[in-house]
């Protein structure tokens, strides 16, 4: 009998404090800290010709005003380009405070420190910046075609250009295969910008200890370890003198993996300079115009296929809008290019992307991180092939699936981690069967006909995806059992609401055989664990989960060895149940894990009753051996790392039934079904929660969310009034089913689940609306107004059966 918690819907340990209002988010800290506000550029592209602070300096409560000129070496250089890549030939990053030129609305120019935020904003209003206007570059095609440049030294606004090609097995290139294919289709797809929009924006709070000459920084970040290294480097501090802590974080979804944000350098710098606590809390408008967006792409697709709908060749050209700067490199278009392939065997493939500068907010990963665009492309392709051949859309997909006996399956490309794109496991035909049963795919035509008879338009859509999760390079876990029997688990990566405290405790309790109440978990605190990468790419459970399991196994091995000595038994005959080490089948021959922890640490001094057992006159060890044996360490603790050879590939399939209003073109989702495979589930309740949230963000992207930039680079909808995030009224009930194909790559057999829900939604909804309306849907999101206009234009062009007419 062991303590089985892995796989159970254990309730979250985070919630008691969060529902009581006792969470500790960034702005809840530092009650006495000075507040920061920024003067940000109101123009998309301009040269700064002067900064006049005369009106501002007399405001009561003002502490300091800084411009780029005031920044010291280290802080005045451009921010780091985090992920260099040979194809990113013209990578550019921003300064903490704009130096000469501003390249998007919202770029920080002046930093103000004051007694509180009200005063800091008063000061900002009294600072006058003068500009010489430069021509803004807005829109992907304007960027590549137009004469105007975002950066003077980046010709054609092209930051990166990359081609990956997988030849047909007979050696022919994809373009040749397509030219010779029995059937071909060619089309263009447009995907709009959206953004993570966590409910809590970013924020940084720093305390300089002048006596200790050390810095403690709290940041609402997805990577505290890396923020720490960046701060130490930029401020010239020894790494051990800098601590960074991610407190409770109110959502991330990708935007908080980017670092260091200008504020993450400036706030600690000012705190040290002023020897005062300093805090900056991002407001919503700042988040819209000075954090990051994602998604925007234009795709040109050519596909060649046979009579069964099998893809023989696929040729995709992508224009990717990365905004004004490229701090996160070209991860997003690389993921689009590679994950586009989904669960399919594509005969031959060529993908080319241009990653392009525009005078807009920079683009960095948002949940899904390029996959929604890739899946939109592939799934629209599958639907078009089915339409062209007059086949069922699921049959065309099935004809292209990688089969369960073909794993590991090598897609012969290089993935976002620089490693081969090799799928480890999955069962796509089984997923599709489950999905069709769940949504009632085969019964839908009758339902559609029935609705049509009542004058209603309904349609069904389907979308499949494969998601590379758990990318390296590594995460670690530390596990310590203290003499009170408590188990202290820490890992370096951070949490933004996923429930890591719960799932990591489940893993530790299961591995060690202790009650979960004895286990506490700390994440994202560099005081507890200094080596980590961060939380992104659905990697936390895979990476830290396995690292913690491995660390627990070390601890368990040590515990059994010590207990074996005490019980005069063979370690192989021992197990741990409910915090007691005992001989298998003889529970009376036992010793509490707490006592094992005491014995693991030979003592000279007794500080309590328990400790007496480990003191030098109380123990009965051999006089010929040192108290701490060679190769051993005192204490019942262990540390280990998990570093995978490559990513593990989760997968899933979604289907939706939508209804469109014949008059108003309103689009309503009647049903939404998800089949999901993330390998072995640690906590099915939390996996479902991740899926629900992902689908909701996907629905936002499919129907509502876009960044409305005008030709001058002004973001016209930079508020929750105008950027339409879904409320409860927009999200359908999500029906879920699961498949568990364990990953062979890691000890726990798990795959990531964080991003899955969002990935195929735009493709699914597009397919469903197309089915309801019999109008080609080639852009997302699609609002009622968009659909209304599409109806008009398809009527005038007589393009109701447009799909076949494009031949």
């Amino acid at each position: 009998m062991t303590t089985r918690l892995f796989g159970e819907p254990v309730r979250r340990r985070e919630d008691a404090r969060l529902v009581a209002g006792n969470g500790r988010y960034l702005d809840d800290l530092g009650a006495d800290a000075l507040a920061v506000a920024f003067v940000r550029s109101p123009h998309a592209h301009a040269r700064i010709t002067g900064i006049d602070v005369d009106d501002a300096v007399d405001v009561e409560g003002l502490v300091a005003i800084y411009t780029w000129e005031d920044l010291p070496e280290g802080v005045r250089e451009p921010l780091p380009l985090l992920i260099p890549h040979p194809a990113l030939t013209h990578g550019r990053t921003a300064y903490c405070l704009a130096k000469d030129v501003v390249r998007h609305v919202g770029e920080p120019i002046v930093m103000v420190v004051a007694a509180d935020r009200y005063i800091a904003e008063d000061v900002c209003e009294r600072i006058h910046v003068s500009y010489e206007f430069l021509k803004p570059v807005v829109g992907l095609e304007n960027a590549v075609e137009g004469p105007n440049l975002v950066h003077d030294d980046v010709p054609g606004n092209v930051g990166a250009h990359m081609v990956q090609e997988v030849a047909h097995r007979d050696g022919r290139a994809a373009r040749d295969v397509i030219a010779a294919a029995p059937h071909t289709l060619e089309f263009r797809l447009d995907i709009e910008r959206s953004a993570c929009m966590p409910m809590e924006g970013k924020g940084v709070y720093a305390r300089w200890d002048a006596d200790d000459r050390s810095l403690r920084v709290y940041s609402s970040t997805q990577t505290s370890t890396s923020v720490r290294m960046a701060i130490a480097a930029k401020l010239g501090l020894p790494l051990p003198k800098v601590e960074v802590i991610a407190p409770d974080v109110g959502g991330g979804f990708g935007v908080k993996i980017v670092h260091p944000w200008p504020e993450e350098i400036l706030v600690p710098w000012a705190a040290r300079l002023l020897n005062r606590e300093v805090k900056w809390t991002e407001d919503r408008r700042e988040h819209f115009v000075s954090s990051a967006h994602e998604r925007a792409q234009v795709q040109h697709v050519k596909v060649g296929f046979d009579d069964e709908g099998r893809v023989l060749g696929l040729d995709v050209e992508i224009l990717h809008d990365h905004g004004a700067y490229t701090p996160y490199g070209i991860i997003v278009p690389i993921i689009t290019s590679t994950q586009l392939l989904g669960p399919y065997k594509i005969g031959s493939y060529r993908v080319e992307f241009f990653s392009v500068y525009t005078n807009t907010v920079q683009v960095t990963p948002y949940r899904g991180a390029g996959r929604p665009q890739g899946v939109f492309c592939m799934e629209r392709t599958m639907d078009k092939i089915a339409q062209y051949l007059g086949k069922d859309r699921t049959d065309v997909r099935a004809a292209n699936f990688i089969q369960p006996d073909e794993f590991p399956y090598d897609q012969q490309m290089i993935f976002q981690d620089g490693r081969p794109l090799i799928y480890d496991s999955g069962d796509y035909p089984a997923s599709l069967r489950k999905l069709k049963d769940l949504i009632g795919w085969d019964d839908f035509p009758a339902m559609q006909a029935e609705a049509a008879a009542e004058g209603r338009r309904i349609g069904i859509g389907v979308g499949c995806y494969v998601e590379g999760t758990g990318v390296g390079p590594y995460e670690g876990g530390h596990v310590q059992v203290t003499s009170d029997g408590r188990v202290h688990v820490s890992t370096g990566l951070t949490s933004q609401g996923q429930g890591h405290e719960t799932v990591f405790a489940q893993i530790a309790a299961t591995e060690l055989g202790v009650p979960i109440e004895k286990v506490s978990v700390v994440t994202g605190d560099t005081r507890r664990f200094g080596y980590a990468v961060g939380t992104f790419a659905s990697r936390a459970a895979v990476m830290s989960g396995n690292a913690i399991a491995l660390a627990c196994r070390k601890v368990k091995e040590k515990a059994l060895r010590i207990a074996a000595d005490a019980l005069e038994a063979d370690p192989a005959d021992l197990e741990i149940t409910d915090g007691m080490v005992h001989v298998v089948g003889a529970p009376s021959a036992s010793i509490p894990l707490a006592t094992v922890a005491v014995l693991s640490n030979p003592l000279r001094y007794a500080f309590d009753e328990e400790a007496k057992r480990a003191t030098q006159f109380a123990t009965s060890g051999s006089m010929d051996r040192p108290p701490v044996a060679e190769g051993q360490e005192p204490g019942l603790e262990g540390k280990d790392y998990y570093s995978p050879v490559r990513s593990t590939f989760a997968s899933g399939m979604h289907a939706a039934i939508v209804e469109t209003d014949p008059d108003t073109a309103e689009i309503r989702i009647l049903r939404y079904a998800v089949v999901h495979d993330c390998g072995k589930m640690i906590n099915p309740m939390l996996v479902e929660g991740q899926i629900h949230g992902g689908v909701a963000q996907g629905v936002g992207g499919a129907l509502y969310e876009k960044m409305a930039y005008d030709e001058y680079g002004q973001l016209l909808n930079a508020s929750f009034m105008d950027f339409l995030m879904p409320y409860v009224t927009e999200i359908p009930r999500i029906e879920t089913d699961h498949l568990e194909t364990p990953s062979p790559l890691n000890p726990l057999g798990i795959k990531g689940a964080g991003e899955a829900g969002v990935i195929p939604v735009s493709a699914v909804i597009a397919g469903a609306v197309e089915d309801a309306e019999k109008i080609v849907i080639d852009r997302m999101p699609i609002s009622p107004s968009d659909l209304y206009a599409l109806r008009d234009s398809s009527r005038t062009s007589g393009a109701v059966s447009l799909l076949r007419n494009t031949q």
């Binding site: 529902v19 009581a20 969470g23 809840d28 009200y118 629900h692």
Partner: protein, 158 residues
Amino acid sequence: MHDVTLVVNGVPRHARVPARRLLSDFLRHDIGLTGTHVGCEHGVCGACTVLLDGRPVRACLTFAVSVAGHEVTTVEGLADGDRLSPVQRAFAECHGLQCGFCTPGFLTTVTAFLRENPAPADDEVVEAVAGNLCRCTGYQNIVKSVHRAAELMAEEGP
């Protein structure tokens, strides 16, 4: 500057603040009750919802000085001592929260709603929480939590 006293969670709380001090900032920064969160500062997201004389209001659209003398209930005031309220327990039980940032606004809104409508139908629940944004949960478990809270309240009585 104005002397403002509010009865917050049953206790008179005083601070001397400028007329422009938002109720959300008064609660968070002047009297240190940081459970009320600010998600947009323009009244759309509902994270800052508190109960003003028992009715939900947006604390980010309310000046502290304008509600002097009134009773305010924040998320910190929902529990009965250490015993979480049925609404709080239901959200934890049904996984009605993830990052937890929007949660205080949902909890206060739902608390007021269930007082008026202790046995709501599904569409009434949806309507009740339709003014609060959540970016994590997809709302399904929030709706479930509200129904569960109603059940708990019915089981436990007034």
